[in-house]
């Protein structure tokens, strides 16, 4: 796995992290959005980032995407990384399979075959030849997911990808994402404002507030006992507290 600095090449990381952020600061004018933050995401690790609006979530993501290269500190990400955006962001003038293979090189037949395979993974192989305008919101977002997966990324960046979906589609999309991540094993960095979504999907949750990480915790998963439920409830309470929301589990009140 190659790790490159988005600004200049430096020596690869010794550990197996897919994201290494050290002493990262970012300001817009006098407004300091990120203050000297550190973050590591291990290979295959699923990290969710929670934070209030305007708290620097999107800024951090744009730095990891490589769109914004104006910062202080170190940002190391793998070469093979892909993004699923908040909105599907499909090019309306390209057919679904051409959207999926955007930016990839190869013969048309080979690209199309690969696209149909990946579209099959998100249940949309029938739509490979259609125009994006004919898709529903959930379908379009799944095409966005296929476009990210076809690159076999070492790091998958998800920018509130389910925020605009209805509750049922969201639950189905969660299940699909969980399954795809289990198969492809990328490192995942999910930005969300949905605490339950973060708890249900991520191995680890970090909370960004005032330009710093104010919480960094592991989500327990491997037993199904009542105790786990209690632990998850407590985690939710702690996260919400970090976000400035008072919340108590109903049965503890």
């Amino acid at each position: 796995m190659s790790i490159t600095d988005t600004e200049a090449a430096v020596s690869p990381a010794a550990d197996d992290s897919v994201v290494r952020v050290e002493g990262l600061s970012k300001s817009f004018g006098d407004h300091e959005v990120l203050r000297d933050i550190d973050l590591r995401i291990g290979a295959n690790e699923f990290v969710a980032l929670l934070g209030r609006s305007g708290g620097g979530k999107s800024t951090l993501l744009r730095l990891l995407e490589g769109i914004d290269t104006d910062y202080e500190g170190t940002v190391l990400v793998p070469e093979r990384r892909s993004v699923v955006f908040q909105e599907p962001r499909l090019l309306p003038w390209l057919r679904v399979w051409q959207n999926v293979t955007l930016g990839l090189t190869g013969s048309t037949e080979a690209l199309k075959k690969r696209a149909v395979d990946v579209l099959g993974e998100v249940g949309l192989e029938r739509h490979a030849g259609t125009w994006p305008a004919t898709l529903s919101g959930g379908e379009a977002q799944r095409v966005g997911l296929a476009r990210a997966l076809i690159r076999e990324p070492d790091l998958l960046l998800l920018d509130e990808p389910f925020g605009a979906l209805d509750a049922l589609t969201k639950l189905r999309s969660h299940a699909l994402l969980r399954e795809l991540v289990r198969i492809h094993r990328p490192g995942v960095f999910l930005i969300t404002h949905d605490v339950d979504e973060a708890i249900s999907l991520a191995d680890r949750i970090v909370v960004l507030d005032g330009g710093r990480f104010v919480l960094d915790l592991i989500v327990p998963f491997d037993d199904d006992s009542d105790e786990l439920q209690l632990t998850l409830q407590r985690i939710k309470r702690d996260i919400l507290a970090a976000l400035g929301v008072e919340w108590e589990p109903a049965h503890e009140a």
């Binding site: 490589g66 769109i67 090019l91 309306p92 003038w93 390209l94 125009w131």
Partner: protein, 282 residues
Amino acid sequence: MTVSAPQISTRSGAITAPSLPLRLTAKPSRVPNWSLRLISPLALLVLWEVLVRIGVLNGGVIAPPSKIPGTVVELWGTGDLQAALLISSFRAVSGLLIGASLGAAFALIAGLWRTGHHGVDPLARLLLPIPATGLITLFVLVLGIGEWTKILLIAFGTFFPVYTNTLHGLRSVDPKFVELAAVSGLKRGGLIRKVLIPSATPSFFVGLRFSVSISWLLLVVAEQLNAKAGLGFLLTEAQRYFRTDIIVTALLFYAILGLLSDAIVVGISRLVLPWRKEYVGS
């Protein structure tokens, strides 16, 4: 205390199937669209004929539409009409092709390279307000009264709608699509081919439709001033011999050519932009 069943008391009348005061989708029409589209032009012809017949318009000065078929047959018989249509179409189409191609090319230069924008746009903005018709005298002085005067005049007039619209299309591309291209690993050539040009194509066609109508407009002007063939020549000749039926016929053919060329552009744009959905009024 008695508990009564809840009553809905806010309902004011009987319930009906839901309907809105505004119709949002076109209802299927029993009459085909093309026949509906004939109504207003035909109404104009009928009105015109009636006004001549009842003497409101002087039939000696303005020939009634009923005289047109006879005139068409006469002109067709001598071959004058075919010759005029051919040469006029050639002028309009070649002028349009030159103007529109240059307009699109310069829009690409100005829209894709910053230095190109600084190089091209000031000149385009300077020339834009100059009416093409005002250039005729200059063109005649420099180029004489040959074909190039007419063709280049049309090229000049048709350049700007294509240039300004295509450039606007290129500059108003959704920045989110440019970001997507970047994170998808597209290089500059890919960005131009896959994102910028497709996103500007609808605007290019808007400009092209303007240019098509301008090309016919300028053709009339150019042909009336100095021509030995073409519809405009037919017009001036008819004026000389007071053949108002020929004037009316020539004008009708200008209209037909204009309609036809617009329909061709619309047809091409539908072929090139199959991904677009258009709103069709109710």
